[in-house]
């Protein structure tokens, strides 16, 4: 057991008595009760557990808590306080989610993409978003919502 310190959604966090090898996904869900980050595969194959570590999207299901010392971790709960992130606004505007289970991961991956590319092309979207499975098949709406979020971020109404 160890104490691992990192920033979680903008606040200092000390993971005391954490099992160092435990993936961040399960630390968030079972130890902290933060259930917005979802379990899908456990092998970084589906993207449902995507969070940001130092601004990069990572798969929380294969990220040991021990690797986070000193880093900034953002989950869906910390993306915005009031669903006001442009990606969340675009997702709501276009009613992207169906069952909704994969959407935290989709939104986190899309938010990281937009932080690097203000105007992602369809090819950019394919390259980054292909790691996130949606079994409801909302891909067409996800693509449209990412373009819409780019508009919102760029100040277009």
């Amino acid at each position: 057991m160890a104490s691992i310190k990192f920033n979680l959604n903008g606040k200092p966090h000390s993971a005391d008595d954490a099992i160092p090898e435990m993936p961040l996904l399960w630390y968030l869900r079972d130890s902290l009760g933060m259930t917005g980050t979802k379990f899908g595969c456990g092998m970084a194959l589906c993207g449902a557990c995507t969070v940001h570590v130092n601004g990069q999207s990572v798969r929380a299901c294969v990220t040991p808590v021990s690797s986070l010392a000193g880093k900034n971790v953002t989950t869906i709960e910390g993306l915005s306080a009031d669903s006001s992130h442009p990606v969340q606004k675009a997702w709501a505007e276009l009613d992207v989610p169906q069952c909704g289970y994969c959407q935290s991961g989709q939104i986190m991956t899309a938010a990281a993409l937009l932080s690097k590319k203000a105007r992602p092309s369809d090819a950019d979207i394919d390259e980054v978003m292909r790691g996130n499975i949606c079994r409801c098949g909302t891909y067409q709406d996800i693509r449209a919502a990412i373009h819409r979020a780019a508009d919102l971020k760029g100040g277009k109404a």
């Binding site: 079972d30 917005g36 092998m43 079994r135």
Partner: protein, 727 residues
Amino acid sequence: MSPASTASGHTARKSGFSRRGFLQVGASVSGGLLLGFVLPGGSRLSGQTIARTAGTAAIPDARLNAWIHIAPDDQITFMIHKSEMGQGTVTSLSQLLAEELECDWGKFRTEFPPVDIAFGPMQGVVGSQSIRTSWTPLRRAGATAREMLIAAAAQTWGVDKSQCRAQSGTVVNTATNASLSYGKLAATAAKLPVPANVALKDPAQFRYIGKPIKRLDTADKVNGTTKFGIDARLPGLVYAAVARCPVVGGKVVTFDDKRARAFPGVKQIVPISSGVAVVANNTWSAIQASRLLDIKWDEGANAAVNTPAITKMFADKTLQPGTVCRSVGDAEAALKGAAQKVDAVYHAPYLAHAPMEPLNCTADVRPDACHLWASTQMQTVVQAVAVQLTGLRPEQIHVHSMYMGGGFGRRATGDFISDAVEISKAIGAPVKATWSREDDIQHDRFRPASLARFSAGLDADGWPVAWMNRFACSSIQKSSSGQDPRNGIDRTSSEGLDDLEYEIPNQQVEYHWTETGIPVHYWRAVGYTQNTFFAESFLDELAAAGKKDPVELRRRLLAKSPRLLGVLNLAAEKAGWGQPLPEGRTRGVAAVFNVGTYSAQVAEISVVAGKVRVHRVVAAVDCGHVVNPMIVQQQIRSAIVYGLTAALKGEITLDKGRVQQTNFHQYDMLRIDEMPVVDVYLVPSTENPGGIGEAGVPAIAPAVCNAVFAATGKRVRQLPIRREQLV
């Protein structure tokens, strides 16, 4: 109209459990005022955790009927008895209720109710039935409640009902302009007799039905606060995973848990009927430790099962006559006299459902009550499983329905419920039992594998005159209920083959009910998932053999089926059927009538180095009266992705009784870069609604494979489409 979709007040209770979850409700659909509720000393959930405290007394909401409860403070609650798995029930059932109740959109909240006979003897969501079975009852529930509120207002004012009008959650006295809110009237209304016959609105007056109203549950799904089954939390909750026999149906003989016990976080090891459960203080430890168990298995009857042997068994059986499930004219004689004969054998593999939310259930079994939190498609199955395992009475089993992270038929089973119930009973504590993705794929109850043999005859002009079809498939009914199919025919095996709309004068369809030992179950669109691929592909073979255009052939055979002909023509027109395409692109078509809905799809594809790329799909759908066109279009796109995933990638194989695929790297899903543009066209209609969740699945595989034939001259008779078949 500006439906407010972001206010949290009317989204379905995040948790799905609340004081209403503990209401003891009567058996009548339109009961009177609820007189009180029982607090069983069990768990209550508030926000994210369940406080083990006695409930506080509160003024009960007036229960105008099973679906509509109104509180004195005007809070209207709609009970959504069809759980939400993305198909849109929270929104579309609310549209039916709000329309007739005459309350404003957004001025209500929704909740998933407990098991209640008012919602039918089989409370659940299967078979694309939610709208079909709710269309009249829920509008009637809304109208009945409205009339009772009007009667209560008339009684209060001492005026005739004709002087009262319901409007925006109030009843207005048209002579005085006085008004009373529904909340003030509800307690009185609930004591009034329930009117037997109430008038439903003229569809021309609809304010909500038929409109593309935004989903009520989106706001919570974009910030991670929606509570799926896997998100249930309780004080003192422990977490479990189960080591299962790698051979389907095998049992534990002995086990050594020394290494598992030593894993950090592990608390207990409990043998249960599905294997050996590891209980830990977190799910990860439970899953990891379950893999450290050293278990000696009795591999059972399936130890030698493999898929090539199953396919051969199906192929051999279909050489012999089977149980006749359709016979028109004299197919055998017509075949003998045909100018041209076409033969083909088609095959479809086992498929896993793979909903995004892995299976899970949270159970709290106590001596006098059992509480279950589950994302389930079948509340009554959950209850029945718990009754059987605990010995408690049905009214002591409390099913708290959670949002489902996908269902597709998988969540209509009880296997993931029994794990949690057995473990909680054994350890005397609340437990969340979660299946790993490997459990999900390897221990699914699969879409059945199937094989179909066809012989058809064409006349001298190339038109079909004889259709012979023998197929073999195991029975979902037998697998899920233990009951033999009546007269040897299970319609879940034969649908899509024994009910073709095409007018061919001589048809014979025969079924070989063939058990394989592999558990099978309903998979989104069920029998049509393989059978429409078979039939629509073979029909395309007949078009090619008879030198007919595939749309033209179908038009001729559908002359007496106007609605299927209508969607065929609409899809062909919108897809530009017959118009030139860019170099390398081809089109294929397929049509189907399933779940009460007519649909046709045209797929536009290219094949490069044996790899199929689907560029565009045009779907035309006639599902009768549309309740929410946006949701219908989303569901059709969703179903096309589901069916296309199977056509391009889906296959579960077995060797020595072991499923050979484990996770998404071996059982892959369609990704965004493979997503075609899908255009959905809805036929305006005033017919009763058809189903939608499954309507879009069957046609996509044959539409794509028929386009592949147009591109390559190679006929795909076995799914998934393999690159080596096309190069």
